[in-house]
Symmetry: C2
Subunit: 136 residues, 2 copies
């Protein structure tokens, strides 16, 4: 059974559900940063998903990457499944800019998360939910 990890829940805001994954926006205004969490219990690695779920994850990951890149006019997308601290499988999709605080390094551990204002968060979540609502 799928239950969202407490830390993922507290660090991010619900955007929408896709066929396999829940889509959440990290509440850190340093980077446009979406995480995909496959709604499958007890999975830590992508290769532990069924073959059909792996293929669906690729479809959803590419859709999210393309849409987030176009929406933010990113210089580069960073896509990563790490999970050293949070064991529940989640895949980061981070729009990167040559002007961002961590460029060209990875974003993890560089600066503390800085939450969006409530208005900015709901605006961004709404915009992304609408963009992602199109067919796969």
């Amino acid at each position: 059974m799928f239950t969202l990890d407490n830390r993922l829940e507290s660090d991010s805001a619900y955007v929408c559900d896709l066929t396999l994954c829940q889509v959440r926006l990290m509440n850190d205004k340093h980077y446009p940063w979406i995480i995909l969490i496959p709604k499958v219990g007890g999975i830590r690695e992508i290769y532990e998903l069924s073959l059909s779920d792996q293929q669906q994850l690729m479809k959803e990951s590419s859709k999210v990457s393309r849409i987030l890149s176009e929406y933010t006019n990113a210089d580069k997308m960073n896509v990563a499944a790490l999970g050293n601290l949070v064991p529940q499988l989640h895949i980061h999709h981070i729009a990167r800019f040559e002007s961002d605080v961590a460029w060209p390094g990875p974003v993890w551990g560089v600066v503390n998360a800085e939450p969006y204002s409530q208005t900015a968060l709901s605006d961004r979540v709404g915009a992304l939910a609408e963009l992602l609502s199109g067919s796969m």
Copy 2:
């Protein structure tokens, strides 16, 4: 046309070719670290691959992750497509251990790469090439 990026070539050793990707071992004994480079020219993002190449990449990435995890008895696999410094699309597959120098953070930028001895490198490359030679 596909030409391997010079920096990827100098930082890693050839292991084998899969249907879509060239498999290379990063020459850094801190971490068992494989990179997959799709043999497609001019691609920076996974979503820029054709849909069939995206599906093939998922198959090869999961195979490499599972085999590297089992071969090294890793605590966690880290799988990431970053490419902020090297634009050619390449996907990292890193076997992580609670005892490694970067745990629990990501590996990038923590310590300088430490090359394997020539014997250790060829032994590891040979072992991985044999493990990966099985059918997809």
